[in-house]
């Protein structure tokens, strides 16, 4: 048990976000969310759909890292040219992503930080598909570094819809807004507090609520039955290893720490 890594614990926690989601496209962007989506499909939720990261739907999740171009076995086709019709605007998708900032309303930012729309201090990617994703289908998040630069009181540019009452346009249909889980290197959170307040539902082994709160730029709620995030099973570890044969996940968390902290 001592050789179980924190990143594998995070992957299992992320995969739980997809449990029982049904026949929808599970999109994990980045190594941890992607392996997590594959793990969910290969264990508890086989009905999930997913792509090879390009344009084909696969029933066998493709592993991370170098492999032959034709190693994927396409079972279907979901190119970007059909993506909004088939997956996003139909609500048949659950994406897990890592934006640059997330605020107390679950609003996210990946466009720019500081400065103005006309002259940003730091230009990032642009809003990509996040405005549409967040108003149409469920979303979850993974952050490898839980800190106040990520969890901010108010994001600089609202690139994804959250639960901010001030951003509710009268007559708008926000029924598709569905923020599910936030997994970090410290804990698992959801939006189940009062008025969708972000709350801690489990702490990773050895982490305290106070430590999480201190690393967060806004007030967190604490779930009544807050647990310790469970360790991966042997079966889950084997599936994770098969989905990441080159151990790319070892570089996601600083120093690739163990799941259970050494006693101080």
């Amino acid at each position: 048990m001592s050789d179980i890594t924190l990143v594998d614990l995070c992957i299992v926690a992320c995969s739980e976000a997809f449990r029982g989601n049904g026949e929808i496209v599970a999109t994990g962007v980045g190594p941890v969310p992607r392996v997590a989506a594959g793990l969910a499909k290969l264990t508890h939720t086989p009905e999930l759909m997913m792509t090879d990261g390009e344009a084909y739907l696969v029933e066998q999740p493709v592993p991370l890292g170098p492999r032959k171009y034709d190693d994927r076995k396409p079972a279907g086709h979901l190119p970007f040219s059909r993506f909004f019709d088939s997956a996003v605007w139909s609500g048949r998708r659950h994406a897990m992503v890592t934006p640059t900032q997330l605020d107390r309303f679950g609003q996210i930012n990946l466009s720019y930080m500081g400065g103005t729309y006309d002259k940003p201090k730091t230009q990032m990617l642009g809003v990509r598909g996040f405005p549409g994703n967040t108003i149409y289908h469920p979303n979850s998040f993974f952050f490898p570094v839980h800190g106040p630069r990520v969890f901010v009181p108010q994001v600089d540019m609202i690139s994804g819809v959250g639960y901010n009452p001030a951003k509710r346009v009268a007559g708008g249909n926000f029924s598709g807004v569905n923020l599910r889980r936030i997994v970090t290197n410290l804990c698992v959170m959801d939006f189940g507090g009062p008025e969708n307040q972000i709350r801690v539902i489990s702490l990773h082994p050895g982490v305290t609520f106070e430590e999480v709160q201190a690393a967060t730029g806004f007030e967190l709620a604490r779930a009544e039955n807050m647990e310790t995030t469970r360790l991966p099973t042997a079966e889950e570890l084997a599936v994770i290893a098969s989905l990441d044969p080159h151990n790319i996940r070892a570089s996601v968390l600083k120093d690739n720490p163990p799941a259970v902290r050494a006693a101080a």
Binding site: D118, P131, I135, S159, V169
Partner: protein
């Protein structure tokens, strides 16, 4: 009218004029009509409004000061997530922008294609996009009375698209895993110019079995030029993958020396023939393996 739509790249660029709204097909580092973009970079064309799912096409045009306004949802080289020349332009305040969601963007192209002033969408509500971009709302006239964003038509004066094959009449064949929104760039534009990997005489004599790859009909094509390797350094499946080494050199040059005038000749070349030779010729491009995701 003559159905022979063959032109040189220089003749295509001569059809464009200062201040035009120009759509560029492809997606990030994929299927970009880079040879035509390089031809623009060799010209004195300026003050463009560029509409693109951006990659190095946008980065280079921004770096060269060709862009007055940019309509975008992202600008990225995938493995190099942040396009450095685009960032420089943005952070210097040199660009007017309209930032859109990826889905709204194609919705705007579709509105233009159908001659509509706008198409309604939920996308954008609850974010900063509408306010920052001056997008207005409409109310459904039906019982639901839903408030929706009116995504304005993205009308293009011209579009540039790189395709796999074409004949001289503009019968194109566009294939590979994903053709992104090239169809809608073609239909949103008053004139669409395509470069192709392979130009054939009469498509029906050469590749009749590929007719289902005719992504948009020839009435949407105004000019055709054969430009093998014309997407380099972006990918053009199944012919070749992206050239990440070239992208990296291009990205690094944004830091050092950080001055486009000093490096333009390297990434643009005095002519397309010279450019191709500088990157090792067609054989080197054909050897670029397709990206694995």
């Amino acid at each position: 009218m003559s159905l022979d739509k063959r032109m040189s790249a220089a003749e295509i660029v001569a059809q464009l004029s200062d201040g035009m709204t120009l759509g560029i097909g492809g997606w990030g580092p994929r299927r970009k009509p880079m040879a035509l973009v390089r031809e623009i970079l060799r010209s004195d064309l300026k003050d463009l409004t560029v509409v693109a799912y951006g990659g190095a096409d946008v980065g280079m045009l921004c770096a060269a000061g060709k862009v007055r306004k940019l309509v975008f949802a992202f600008v990225s080289l995938d493995a190099i997530p942040l396009e450095p020349w685009f960032r420089k332009s943005r952070e210097s305040g040199a660009l007017e922008v309209l930032e859109l969601d990826e889905g709204m963007f194609q919705w705007g192209l579709k509105a233009a294609a159908f001659g509509l002033p706008f198409l309604p969408t939920r996308v954008g509500l609850g974010t900063d996009l509408a306010e920052l971009g001056g997008l207005k709302t409409v109310q459904s006239p039906y019982d639901d009375a839903e408030t929706l964003i009116a995504m304005p038509a993205l009308k293009l004066d011209a579009a540039l698209i790189h395709v796999n094959r074409s004949d001289w009449r503009g019968n194109v064949q566009v294939f590979g895993p994903d053709t992104y929104y090239d169809e809608w760039f073609a239909k949103a534009a008053a004139k669409t110019y395509v470069s192709c990997e392979e130009l054939v005489d009469r498509m029906e004599d050469h590749y009749p079995e590929g007719a289902q790859d005719n992504l948009f009909e020839r009435c949407f094509v105004s000019g055709v030029v054969e430009m093998p390797c014309g997407a380099h350094p972006s990918s053009m499946p199944p012919h070749y993958g992206w050239d990440m080494k070239a992208f990296k050199a291009y990205a690094d040059s944004a830091r050092d020396p950080g001055d486009w005038a000093q490096v333009a000749s390297r990434f643009v070349g005095a002519s397309e023939a010279e450019y191709l030779e500088s990157i090792g010729g067609k054989e080197a491009v054909a050897a670029l393996s397709l990206p694995i995701f």
